[in-house]
Amino acid sequence: MTEQEVLDRIERARARRPRVREERITLAHGAGGKATQNLIEALFLAAFPDPALAPLEDAATVEVDGARLALTTDSYVVSPLFFPGGCIGDLAVNGTVNDLAVAGARPRYLAAGFILEEGFPVADLTRIAGAMSAAAAAAGVRLVTGDTKVVPRGHGDGCYITTTGVGELDPAVRLGIATARPGDAVLVSGPIGEHGVTVMLARGDLDIAADLVSDTAPLHELTAALLGSGATVRAMRDATRGGVATVLNEVAKAAGVAVVLEEEAVPVRPAVRGAAELLGIDPLYIACEGRLVAVVDGADQERALAALWEHPLGRDAAVVGRVVAEPPGMVLLRTGFGGTRVVDVLVGDPLPRIC
């Protein structure tokens, strides 16, 4: 067989229906990479066949009496609970707000569920609740319902939070990663990887010090600015678990296109680059909690950039790549060194429990 025949055979194997082969859940199932995808597609989609779930967007689009709503939920198990630039409370609000925002919705209401471990300090819970309140106010959402459970000591890790959000969708907005087409531009709203590296370093088991804070922030104003700029926006995502690379692989797969990234164009702060270099991790896979990835019509890229630059969270926004036709389903990177390589979906988790 020639190399190309082997590659074609591999692509066919990759396109096959996913299966969960493992007998037990491993950490890889929660890592946001291929094992997570398999679990969702093979187990959950099979159990919950619903046209609103099937596209697997960050938020589902549902209709209630003719009104289009975006609905999303997310659980937070970050360790440590407090880190430079935020805490699990900020994350739990911003993460869910962002899932609504990137769906093109205006975030309105949140619900929060707390799973607390026996012995957890009330002072810490007070700080977390305070952070959630402040984050909700900043994002213009109301936290209107919740639930609390306590598990025996040793059965949880202090505090886990699940938030569910509802947002209003503008009837005119139609977004979807499957709509990306050759010629589109790929933008990111700022330097990538800061949240993941900050949390990793805050855990203290690496003995690396860096002047970094989490990038956790609500993106609703930025997404509104982009949608209001007049640029034709195909899709938006927040680059959380699995990072920018994972988002773009989802785009390439859903739309049947390729994405070509320019390594030198991707904004990465030196501290993140240095830490990633030391740990042998590619910043493209490191989670952000306040960075937008947008696919816009190539003809509108300047307009889109200008809209992002206007907002403090988008000051370092950049065009990092382009959508092309071939090879479909793949993300390629033109390296700073001048070569080309594949940017695949991640296997395993380089930085566990960062959100």
């Binding site: 190399e3 060194f337 594949v342």
Partner: protein
């Protein structure tokens, strides 16, 4: 970023690629083996092959610590990890390696206490913090990592941390290279020598390669320009009719190596009479065990280790890939039955494994001709 960007400069790479194209004889084929998995990773990560003419092939060698661990040793380690009083620690890559009875991650999901560490000293710290548990560090790697294991064991002995032990799987690079040189299907024109191993062993141990086997070797650094320059140096040796050991990585590798590190290893460990390498079989004097003086910290003596030999899966051709006989994609199960999520062979596990590097980074048709034509 200083000390990194200057070794990834695209303009310098283009200039070197031009020199390489000029120096190579278009009527012949060149096959250079990069022994070290770290080089394999760099080559794919930066798309370095785009700079090489079609008639230069980089063959990926056996220098990937995870790749050469045989399945029987994985099963032995999982056996130790399955004891309720044990905490098994190792490097992240190792944890996904499949044994005969599943991987460490599977064992962990089934209840074993298995933890990822970045250094053996982290494992020692766990042992200090949890005195009632027995902490075992699953030690893997070539001479690069053996000194840090040795120093940790020495420290554990000095501090009297009696619940810390090492399951020693350290291997030595020279017998591995020699096994490849002695393999009948060898077709190589030279070696890109391992960089980090050489910081410890120096350059002298390679001198038999040009002398006895008439193959040049260039000890190389790990940035893409280092490797490109090493290819250039190998070509220059061939063009000038020279055949010797050269040190491209002199900024890090002293010719004589690191005597202090070698002493530490020699004090704590001794050569095994033989050791099984995945895919390459048993190689004599190719691995290290703990010395009797450190028996109290030797997991192989403390625990009952089944020591069974598990044959590699029939479909797996890791051995041929490790010897450079097959390219990763030429293996029958590459990318279909054997993928990074469900690896059959070790070469698909570690990011330094040739198969994983090719699968993650190289899985598309290259446009090598165009790039090299452009610099000619």
């Amino acid at each position: 970023m200083r000390f990194v960007d200057e070794y990834r400069d695209a303009a310098k790479a283009r200039a070197l690629a031009g020199e390489i194209a000029r120096l190579s004889d278009p009527s012949r084929q060149y096959r250079f083996m990069e022994v070290c998995g770290g080089h394999t990773h760099t080559i794919y990560q930066h798309g370095l092959e785009d700079y090489l003419p079609e008639n230069i092939t980089l063959v990926h060698g056996p220098g990937c610590p995870v790749c050469v661990i045989p399945m029987g040793r994985v099963d032995d380690a999982i056996h130790i990890a399955s004891r309720p009083d044990v905490i098994l620690t190792s490097f992240g890559d190792m944890l996904r390696v499949p044994g005969g009875m599943g991987s460490f991650l599977d064992a962990k999901a089934a209840g074993a206490d298995i933890r990822m560490v970045y250094s053996p000293l982290d494992a020692l710290a766990i042992a200090r913090a949890e005195p009632r548990r027995r902490v075992v560090f699953l030690a893997i790697g070539f001479e690069t990592t053996a000194p840090s294991t040795a120093v940790t064991v020495r420290r554990a002995a000095e501090e009297g941390v009696t619940n810390f032990s090492v399951f020693c799987n350290h291997v030595t690079i020279i017998p591995g290279i020699k096994a490849i040189l002695d393999s009948p299907d060898l077709r190589l024109d030279g070696f890109i020598g391992p960089g980090h191993v050489s910081t410890v062993i120096g350059c002298r141990p390679y001198e038999f390669i040009p002398r006895d086997y008439r193959k040049p070797l260039v000890v190389a650094g790990f940035e893409p320009l280092d490797i490109l320059q090493s290819v250039y140096l190998l070509l220059r040796q061939l063009a000038e009719g020279r055949c010797e050991v050269e040190n491209q990585y002199a900024r890090v590798v002293p010719w004589e190596g690191n005597p202090a590190a070698l002493r530490a290893v020699g004090e704590v460990m001794a050569l095994r009479p033989y050791f099984e390498w995945r895919g390459l079989g048993f190689i004599s004097h190719s691995a290290l065990r703990m010395r009797e003086e450190y028996a109290a910290h030797d997991a192989e003596r403390i625990f009952e280790v089944p020591g069974v030999r598990v044959a590699d899966p029939k479909a797996c051709q890791c051995g041929e890939v490790l010897k450079g006989v097959l390219k990763p994609w030429e293996c029958k199960v590459f990318g279909t039955a054997c993928t990074p999520e469900t690896p059959i062979g070790t070469c698909m596990v570690s990011s330094e494994g040739a198969c994983a590097a090719y699968y993650h980074f190289g899985r598309f048709t290259r446009e090598r001709v165009r790039v090299t034509e452009a610099v000619r």
